[in-house]
Amino acid sequence: MGYLSLTDADRAEMLAAIGVSSVDELFEQIPPGVRFQRELDVPPALGEAELMRHLEELAAKNVHTQAELSFVGAGIYDHYVPAVADVVLSRGEFLTAYTPYQPEMSQGTLQAIFEYQTVICELTGMDVSNASGYDGTTVAADACFVAKHVTDRHKVVLAETLNPQVRQVVKTYAPGFGFAVVEVPHRNGVTDPDELARASTDAAAVFFQQPNFLGCLEDAPALAAAANEAGALSVAHVDLMSLGVLEAPGAYGCAIALGEGQAAGNWPSYGGPHYGFFAARSEYVRRMPGRIVGETVDADGKRGFVLTLQTREQHIRREKATSNMTTNQTLLALAGLATLSWLGPEGLREVGETCLALAEYTRERVPLEPAFEAGCFKEIAFRTPTPTRDVIRRAREHGVNPGYALGRDYQGMDDVLLVAVTEKKSVEDIDRLASVLEEVCA
């Protein structure tokens, strides 16, 4: 059954060594009143062949992104995941090791995390990165906790153009932090810096997203400035895959840059596991959440890597810790490292340029009105003549999933379709999208 391997002979020897006559004796420490008497009511055991067949049958019931031509993005994107990422994910040593508490046993994981931290710092223009957070939503909550201690203020400001799930998670955590949450509405798809400035007074942190959830490019430097002038931590939620062509948050003065790493090296996987990245300016390093790897030397003077600044962490600081996180998303972050190393500076720039070019081509070819005037990176919103959900349903009958219905999250946007492209999309794909939309919207 399962993966057990003790033989009867083993059991007998072991019970003898313990000095009990049966395994049950070992459980006598469990008060009779709370012992579970019956058999677990769970589905029957399956051998590996039957198990795979069962799972294949379940998987076959899903319509995955290869099964139709899909332009759905809205936070999770099908950028190309290179085969070198498989090398990392399939190496048993990376896969089956845990947090590198014992550096001599884990130099590989530690060095890779150190390299990952460097890549994140380079992309975001920040000084320090942690080893990963859970995803693009929880890192925002982490940032609130940092801001709470740094500023001693009790308000967080969220641009309405910030990913709705990120806003929801911040709202879930806010009561525990004693935070009030203020949202700043979008104006024609983007956030007005003056409006944000007004809202930022007495705020601990101010969040915006670049490019934003509606696909629009914000005037990020102005938004960061508004937050900074109010003495709040300016937090940019960014897309790693855009940072070959879009300015680094560090360059326009953000205090913290974070986001969802999935686009860089992880599969959609129905929402996870992925990695959230979290990078900050050096003054906040001792308030950072999660694991951080540092370089040092060993007893023989050799370079080596260790988990460091652990006095921030729960296992040492306990109730005073900067976060309660222990298990994180290292493996997914390492797939990100492999992917970004495979792209290199040239490749990442080219991905960005291809996204810009395809988005522009989409704007030209799709026979619908763009919903907003602002420029975009890889997502663009259009107004649909009939409710967007109907347009999507009818387009899918033609084998094309044209995008995401923004009405799911934004009132008054029931007729707005958000179309996402990545470098995997071809000109022909977009022509096909255009002609299908032509047909179903005519």
Binding site: G108, G178, R317, N324, N328, T330, L331, A357
Partner: protein, 494 residues
């Protein structure tokens, strides 16, 4: 290039040190289209210094790093409290099925029926294992499960108009418990452990009152001992109108043998990466579902997976919900693996826990003469020894023992935790280890105890067979180098 030819551990430069300007691996598609301009203020001003390598060198780099990493695949990994069991390879094959791996999380429910059905079954098995009716799969790990549980308490009491501000934890508690208490906005109260390793009931009675929101407890405790007074403990809290939270990190000891819900716990988190074998990935990913009583169900995060007849859907319409704690419905890839692990056992999940406990007690029985045993009882799935005897007699610490174990090809146990035990060695073999590996460990631990007496310096200088030895953690914290600094990077030392 090897520093000293002949040494088996080759130097592994940082990937940035392997880079050469102009090298590249990936070549993204470049459609024949004009690239629109960006306003200067938004355009990247300085190219990120990403690695520049040929693909062959990228593969070699990560291959070399993997060789410097010890996993369960490499050998025995009895890291207490982390349940480092075998990770079946079929899990990786299953999670990579296009129907799972390439499924977009915004997919309409009717097109994700296979995924939803899997999650629904997973909820059901988890509920049966905990003895509690309602489950959320959303939390990303145990720690987030804890925080979610505390948020649920807050919502529950708010809904009842009760104002309670204190959470009680054991002095043996894992650091995440107090940390979660703070993040949830509660204040913390600690209770002690009695001489048998159970919660000190007298201490407890004095601390539970109308301000008490609840208890957070690991059972079996981090000492690997089942709390023999758990029924009284539950009564004390429930009589005070407070709730009990079960930290499921040690669930591997009691699946099918004792259910948290039956013990009196109202809220439970699971660590899917521990009990249900999601590979730990050098630190993660994990999964931290939470189960609760009916009375608390209304407050669970949205969405949850519900079934109507033969169809399944995500229910976002949960008016009393605390809200969402993570993106989407949780780490689906983790669910695939844990569900597969559960299905490989079926009702024999009980045997899984029995063997985990048998393996631990076998090690305990064979090691008790060589090391100090702070609580002399049968253990559950893990146990804590103390090296204080070696320290007293030979100045050998738990850390020295840990480092020397590496030379025997074994990953050290958890050390210096729980805090209540000096020189603690926290040992968890798990159910998937065959007896030979347990015997290897016993032999190594005995050999080390002998070495402590005969050749203590051998231990002080251990490990001798790893790429590095005794890293300077103080220096790392005092002069932090947290990223590669390119031209300004300090020269590689030695």
């Amino acid at each position: 290039m090897s520093a000293e030819p002949g040494s088996t551990w080759k130097e592994t430069p940082l990937i940035f040190e392997r880079s050469r300007p102009g090298r590249r691996a990936g070549r993204p598609p470049r459609p024949d289209l004009p690239v629109p301009d960006l306003p200067d203020s938004l355009r990247r001003s300085r190219a990120p210094r990403l690695p520049e390598l040929a693909e062959s060198e990228i593969v070699r780099h990560f291959t070399a790093l993997a060789d410097r990493t010890f996993g369960v695949d490499t050998g025995f990994y009895p890291l207490g409290s982390c349940t480092m069991k075998h990770n079946p390879r079929v899990h990786e094959r299953a999670a990579a099925l296009p129907g799972f791996r390439d499924l977009h999380p915004h997919t309409e429910d009717e097109d994700a029926q296979g995924a939803l059905e899997l999650m629904w079954h997973l909820q059901g098995i988890l509920a049966e294992v905990a003895g509690l009716p309602a489950v959320t799969l959303q939390p990303a790990a145990g720690s987030q499960g804890e925080l979610t549980g505390l948020m649920l308490m807050r919502a529950y009491f708010a809904d009842r108009g009760e104002d309670r501000d204190t959470i009680i934890t054991a002095d043996t508690a894992h650091g995440t418990n107090p940390a979660s208490v703070t993040m949830a906005g509660y204040s913390l109260e600690k209770v002690g452990t009695d001489t048998r390793g159970n919660l000190d009931l007298d201490d407890l009675r004095g601390k539970v009152n109308a301000r008490t929101a609840g208890l957070m407890l690991t059972n079996p405790s981090t000492l690997g001992l089942f709390d023999e007074g758990i029924e009284q403990v539950a009564r004390i809290f429930h009589d005070a109108g407070a709730l009990l939270y079960y930290d499921g990190a040690n669930l591997n000891a009691v699946v099918g043998l004792s259910r948290p819900g039956d013990m009196g716990f109202d809220i439970v988190h699971y660590n899917l990466h521990k009990t249900f074998s999601q590979p730990h990935g050098g630190g993660g990913p994990g999964g931290g579902p939470v189960a609760v009583r009916d009375t608390i169900e209304p407050f669970l995060p949205a969405p949850t997976v519900v079934r109507n007849g033969d169809t399944f859907r995500l229910n976002h319409d949960r008016p009393k919900s605390i809200g969402r704690v993570r993106g989407f419905a949780g780490p689906f890839g983790v669910f695939v693996r844990s569900y597969a692990y559960m299905r490989a056992y079926g009702p024999a999940l009980r045997e899984m826990s029995e063997v985990a406990v048998l393996n631990a007690n076998y090690l305990l029985a064979r090691l008790r003469d060589a090391y100090d045993l702070p609580y002399d009882r049968h253990c559950m799935h893990e146990f804590v020894l103390s090296a204080r005897n070696l320290k007293r007699e030979y100045g050998i610490t738990a850390l020295d023992v840990a480092k020397r174990l590496m030379d025997y090809g074994i990953h050290p146990p958890t050390v210096y935790f729980p805090l209540v035990v000096p020189e603690a060695l926290m040992i968890e073999p798990t159910e998937t280890e065959p007896k030979e590996r347990l015997d290897d460990f016993v032999d190594a631990m005995h050999a080390i105890a002998r070495e402590a007496a005969e050749t203590p310096e051998l231990l002080k200088e251990a490990p001798h067979g790893r790429p590095v030895r005794r890293l300077d953690e103080v220096r790392a914290a005092k002069q932090p180098i947290l990223r590669y600094l390119f031209d300004e990077h300090p020269a590689v030392v030695a």
